[in-house]
Symmetry: C2
Subunit: 221 residues, 2 copies
């Protein structure tokens, strides 16, 4: 289907005002950046002022899901506002610290995705189940099948909102420092320090019954 293979159409707010060479609109790049993370920063407007909160998300095809308590303010707003809640959802990976000879050319290697759109509450029971599984599996792939699914009371306490991937852009910086030619002889070390998230040894819950080993899908992280 061409709608899912074509690139996202740039808009006034997804065309960067600068560093245009870093912008990407192809779905493969966007999906890959989203699929390698689980934390986003969700922005919305409250009383005319911006609010940015860290939260988990899950991707299912061309939709991102975010969840929270039915008492949380952005989720309430998404449910109340008939046209939904305008949001900006941003995901960023830091891949390296770029150290140039000049302070000015210091930079960061990174991959980010910015999604603009309107978030809506999900009320369909089946879609809510899919979204909640996706949120768990986004953090640890395979985990939703190895945990107790939400019961009726938990489902009633959980709000799920959806944001479709329509107005989307990625930005990617790779490579070394871009020093000016006249700075190349300066005596400062320059290069890239790679950065990546690292997982430590899993720590069992204090009340974990003996004999339950760390599953392969966790060791594989």
């Amino acid at each position: 289907m061409s709608a899912t293979t074509a690139a996202y159409e740039p808009t006034g707010r997804t065309l960067p005002s600068r560093a245009r060479e870093r912008a990407r609109y192809d779905r493969e790049t966007v999906h890959s950046i989203l699929d390698q993370a689980y934390l986003c920063h969700l922005g919305f407007v409250r009383d005319g002022a911006p609010v940015v909160l860290p939260t988990l998300y899950g991707r299912v095809g061309e939709t991102l899901y975010v969840h929270g308590s039915t008492g949380s303010r952005p989720l309430l707003a998404a449910g109340k506002a008939d046209p939904g809640l305008p949001v900006c959802l941003t995901v960023t990976h830091v891949d390296g610290l770029v150290l140039a000879r000049s302070a000015f050319h210091h930079s960061m290697n990174y991959r980010s995705v910015v999604v603009h759109g309107t978030a809506h509450q999900v009320t369909d029971a089946e879609e809510r189940r899919i979204a909640l599984d996706a949120l768990v599996d986004q953090v640890v792939p395979g985990r939703s099948a190895d945990s107790r699914p939400a019961n009726a009371r938990e489902l009633a306490a959980t709000a799920v909102i959806r944001l479709d991937l329509n107005e989307v852009s990625a930005k990617v910086r790779t490579g070394g420092p871009n020093d000016d030619p006249e700075d190349l002889g300066l005596p400062h070390w320059s290069g890239v320090v790679p950065v990546a998230p690292a997982y430590g040894t899993p720590v069992p819950a204090a009340d974990l019954a003996p004999g339950i080993a760390v599953p392969d899908y966790i060791s594989a992280l």
Copy 2:
């Protein structure tokens, strides 16, 4: 001075609507979370809609500095708008994946800081120098002294904005999963997978002159 030792005063928008036991307002916690990071997600409102962009910051006392091209839209807005630009600046560390027996009790160990306020352009030359050094040293402590400072042309191309730490809150979650008592006998592994950023071996620039070793302040990362 009591103004810098007292906790930040909670306000309507820094009092969480839920999980209040995770909220912190003391400066030591807030400063420590800010000082261990360098990337923030900066939110502002453009044409009535939220925008969230990843960017670097530097802390100097009770002020955060953000910089960018003089052509970048939020920085232009901060310069033009006489009363400044309302922003929300958020910093998040992920410390662990919390895997409970129930999908519902899955969580994340994290430390975050949310700063609400109004950003203003910095025009004073001395304050701009201090801010730019702080931005470099926030990423790699000690680096600003080992790089060529910005020259007049670079300074003219760089906008710096400041955001004072007044309306600030931190949120901290630590510890293991909080499963319900009736779930403790379920056969699912539960516990915490620690997460932390890891630095790789520094990669010298392709054009780095031979004989310039990796400095100690980089090896120490």
